[in-house]
Amino acid sequence: MRCDLADGQTLKEMFASGTAWLEKSAPDINAINVFPVPDGDTGTNMVLTMRSAMEEAKRNSDSDVSSVVKSMAHGALMGARGNSGVILSQFWRGLAKGLEGKAHFDGREFAEALVEASKTAYKGIVQPVEGTILTVLKDASRAAETAVKDDDALASVLEAAVKSAEESVARTPSLLPVLKEAGVVDAGGQGLYVLLDGALQFLKGESGKARYRMPHLVATESELVPRAAQMPTHLEMPYGYCTNFVLEGRNLNLGKIEKDLKKKGQSLIVTGDDSLARVHIHSFEPGQILEYATRLGKLHEITINNMDDQYAEFIEMQRERMPPVDITMVTVAAGDGFFELFNSLGSAIIVPGGQTMNPSVRELLQAVESAPSDGIILLPNNKNIISAAAQVKSLTSKKVMVIPARTIPQGVAAFLAFNYDMNLEQNAQVIEEAIKKVRTIEVTRAVRKTRLNGLEIKKGQFIAILDDEDLIARGDMVGDVIVQALGRAGAEKAEVVTIYYGAEIEAVAAGEIAEEVRGRYHNEVEVVYGGQSHYNYIISLE
């Protein structure tokens, strides 16, 4: 007999360690749970499912692995919670199938059982979605299979599976768009990775050490991360009830149950065998589901959760992870690029408007009233809007500080300067200082022949205006006008030049101008899409 053969008790120890590791990262897993429903309970559900599996395992002192794993599969089935929990119970069911009739197992047999677990998990789901726990399980099982060829020791095989699971988790956002949008990896996949990683620690003799470590969370590759303030506060579509139960009966026809329930809800999973089945479904009428099931047999472990309540809690939880919002920036902006830019810079309410479309006092007031906070920093970003903004102050009971920002780059500077450590008045002061340090060049075409600042301007020529006041350059070539204007505005002293290009400008053209500016003035030049309509380019010097 080989010395590294593991038995049922080893399997139990492995996953006791795995479950402990999973418990430790459950809050973090909850926090990234956005699919299929952002209800923030994936970590908890997986832990509860594993606990139930471990309870059954504890009662089984057999050394045969087939006996222990069968108990664990039964425990997981009985205790499965939520989508990920049910899939996890499928994992155990598959593992039990793969290790059936075996007293011991080695790396090869474990790899084969993982493959079986993956297959079983896919089969249990009516519509498998990639980029979830399923994909991670599949990738891990394949890696285990491959690893056996080099070294079939159990620890080596599991190590390969864990490594592959980790990489697979990191890839989930590229497979599932909803994850990418939210800037997170799949929560269920993360949970499976952590569970296997914990099991591996036992084999390496490291589970003791693990008590003093924090589980490593796989980070998403994508840069965008969700912002609580941007999440919808009320739902357009309710999610309904997450309905879960175990059905005990005789000659249960799982295929038929699946077919019957398919039309009654979402995220349906029916697993088990002809005497004991686990059903999970998201439905608006859980009563109907239960009524249907009672006709087929006895129901156990019934749980019905209102997912809309859970979603509200999830949003609350996300808020707690963000700094408190007691000040909101209300900003006027034109152009889809600027909308996105402001949103990326913090919790903002954007009032569309600008040079050619001044928002009314009422529109500004509405924005102020709709802000989640009592303290408001109002950024008109145009000199023609400043007086309207000033009026808002006396029309609301909220505390509004109007910053006399006259250009959009000044508004951007205000967002950057916002200090989370300061109160409203202090912030207003810091921001007023900050906007003074920004110079703005706006480039547009002359609408008619005119004479300004001693310069003769032909219709259609490009003109550059400094700080919304002085015409400082004109010409037929936009690049020349910009370079000239930058020179007059003191570009050599600026550290950062930001070129916001308008809706009608190609990114390539803006990039070429940036190259020219870099070559001429040697500063850091950033090119950002502003999407504004009136000005071809808006340029800031900081």
């Binding site: 003093y212 470590r213 980070a219 963000m322 919790s347 989370y420 950062v496």
Partner: protein
Amino acid sequence: MVKIVTDSCSDITPQLAQEFGISVVPLYVQFGNETYRDNVDLSTEEFYHKLETSKTLPTTSTVTPVSFAELFTKLAEETKEILTITISERFSVTYEAALQAKAMVSKDCRIEVINSQSAAGGEMLLVISAAKMAQSGADLDQIADWVRKAVPRVQVRMSFDTLEYLRRGGRIGKAQAFLGSLLKANPVLGIKDGDTFPIARTRSRTQAVDFLVNFVKGFSQVEALAIEDATTPDDLETLAERLKDIVPPERIYRSKVGPVVGTHVGPQVLAVSVLEAE
């Protein structure tokens, strides 16, 4: 004399440790399968070089209770009183490990463990102040009482080129509000209630240095100041030069962001920590 113990997240240099008789317990940095003791097997310079060249990103792990207990037992041969100051519990389980170790020591020795609610230079200032008190003959209760009261007077500001390391290591806390910006920025973060907190954003390193200087200027009286860089000694020089007229140079401690803290904040970090006078 009371012995002062801290973890390597306090970024106390071997010179400072020796000068003030501080015992520093190293945390661990792992690059793949290689494990190093923080600032013992791996110097700060070597670490940042590896960080740039290694294909795998490093991870960190904490001190085990056993290592703490061994040190406590050894120190107990010379002293009856030990004070341990650790990194904030939000960043590491070192505090918990030290508490566990306290229960493992059988020698007749009083051990106090205090969570600094801070890290890096902030933790360093508490540790150095405690060591100075010990050197001047204060007892454990006096020092522990002083440190607990000083914890809220410590403030840390760090400027970053990128928040990527902080995000990957899961220690970004509420500063995640600064992620996803479509404009390049040098964010400045602080530590508040023991956790990372967003402060403000600057547009360049120069502006970031200005911000840090103004931050120090904002205090009416600074008892001690710690300044640190990771890979930019020139910036540290500039910072020191500009701060020397605000705070007497003998109250300024210079250090480097060490490997364990560096794993989570990345290169190019500049940090200023202030212990405000009572």
